[in-house]
Amino acid sequence: MKILPIFFEKREIVVPGDLLAEGDYIAGENTFREGKYIYATRVGLIEYTNEKVNVVALKAFYIPRIGDLVIGKIVEVGISGWVVDINSPYMALLRASDVIERGFNPRKDDLTAIYDVGDMIIAKIIAYDRTQNPLLTVNETGLGKITRGQIIKITPTKIPRVIGRKGSMINVIKKESGCNIILGQNGLILIRGRSPENERLAVMAIRKIEEESHTSGLTDRVAEMLRKEKESGKYESKSS
């Protein structure tokens, strides 16, 4: 393999318009090619793999993808379905026939009794392309209305960082805080713990990850912070 010119070190911060590479590299995420040069299109961290140049964005918005688990808020109840805000430029639709198994009758069925404006739901995207708004489903286990817990919002591109390599980060947070955490690919995170104190710990950890996502050795620092916080006594032990 011939050595192709690159202009940054791995995991260095780049901004739009930065020249990343020259030659036969494949222009990956958040990059674009002009002639034989590849430039960045977003602020992010650069990653070179064998033949590809990627930029992991530090801030972006959520663009729906089929199969993604998302957390959304009902903003409108229509005649035959709901409009859901999924923290994206596009509003998502949830059909009434998806929720009501037997034939749906608009005259008899009251949709607000199922989901009302302001309700939060966990859903999955089943259809989306650039000409149509995304379509959701709640017809799987674990999906549906959220009845308790806290929801926090982070930049969607940092969700993989919260999960960590093979789930290392999220497992540390779950273990140390004792909370059940559900990550929506759209940047919304649901935290359910035994007490508000447990939830506070998890929120703190996630906020720290969001702030310092572009630094290395973060998993260890988060684990250390959680342990220190627990020892400081404000946290009720698991025996309660």
Binding site: G17, F32, V43, Y90, T131, T155, T157, T215
Partner: protein, 246 residues
């Protein structure tokens, strides 16, 4: 405070009223991500000119009929605060502000991948807090940073700078008084990577030779602003990285 109009805008040593050389920029200070409610924001101080920019979007278009099926619509508002000039300015949008909103939008649009997000809108708000010449250029410079801060994919940052002619000399980055009393003003905005100019206006009279000299000077000024823009965009993240990694 009323501006005294001096007889000469350039003294015997060839220095300007504020002591700058003809090809020198005013001191520039840029900060990115200053507002927490907007999706992206930036602030610039260029000499006495102070401008704040905020970006929202992409988001659903309201009213709906403005949406385009194949790309995002870009909407821009350039506005001067009532206290930005010596004599209180009416906060209602003036003819000049509407025109500037349009030229700024057209200067920024080529840098954005609008075709990636059909049926959406991107809103840009440029608020001039204090005006001392060069507000359209500084406005483009900050708005471009606010767009990058909002995570909107861009081909390049757009940087802008004016050149002009004062007392027979071609100068860079005019102040308000130099603009008003001088002979010509040439605001320029560009994307340095592709060497494409996205805004070029001229006010006053220049010979073809002077125009070429002024344009080259403005391009040089743009490139200096460009490196300051990149530095400012990285500064926020570099500071955190240094703090935690030691």
């Amino acid at each position: 405070m009323s501006q005294k109009v001096p007889e000469k805008l350039i003294d015997e040593k060839g220095l300007r009223l504020d002591g700058r050389k003809p090809d020198e920029l005013r001191p520039v200070k840029i900060e990115v991500g200053v507002l927490s409610n907007a999706d992206g924001s930036a602030y610039i101080e260029q000499g006495k000119t102070k401008i704040l920019a905020a970006v929202y979007g992409p988001k659903e278009v309201h009213p709906r009929h403005l949406a385009l099926p194949d790309r995002a619509v870009l909407r821009c508002r350039y506005h001067m605060a009532p206290f930005s000039v010596e004599q209180r300015k009416s906060p209602a949008p003036s003819r000049r502000e509407m025109e500037l909103s349009k030229v700024i939008r057209e200067a920024l649009e080529p840098s954005i991948f609008v075709e990636y997000y059909p049926r959406t809108a991107i809103d840009i708000f440029i608020e001039v807090l204090q005006a001392d010449g060069g507000t359209r250029c500084a406005g483009i410079t900050v708005a471009s940073l606010a767009l990058a801060d909002a995570g909107i994919p861009m081909r390049d940052l757009v940087c802008a700078c004016a050149a002009g002619k004062v007392d027979g000399t071609i100068v860079l980055d005019l102040t308000d008084i130099e603009d008003k009393k001088g002979e010509a003003d040439l605001p320029t905005a560009m994307m340095p990577n592709s060497k494409s100019i996205t805004l070029l206006q001229m006010d006053g009279m220049l010979t073809p030779g002077e125009f070429e000299k002024a344009l080259n000077l403005a391009v040089e000024g743009c490139k200096k602003i460009y490196s300051l823009q990149k530095e400012a965009l990285k500064a926020k993240y570099v500071a955190i990285k240094e703090a935690v990694e030691e």
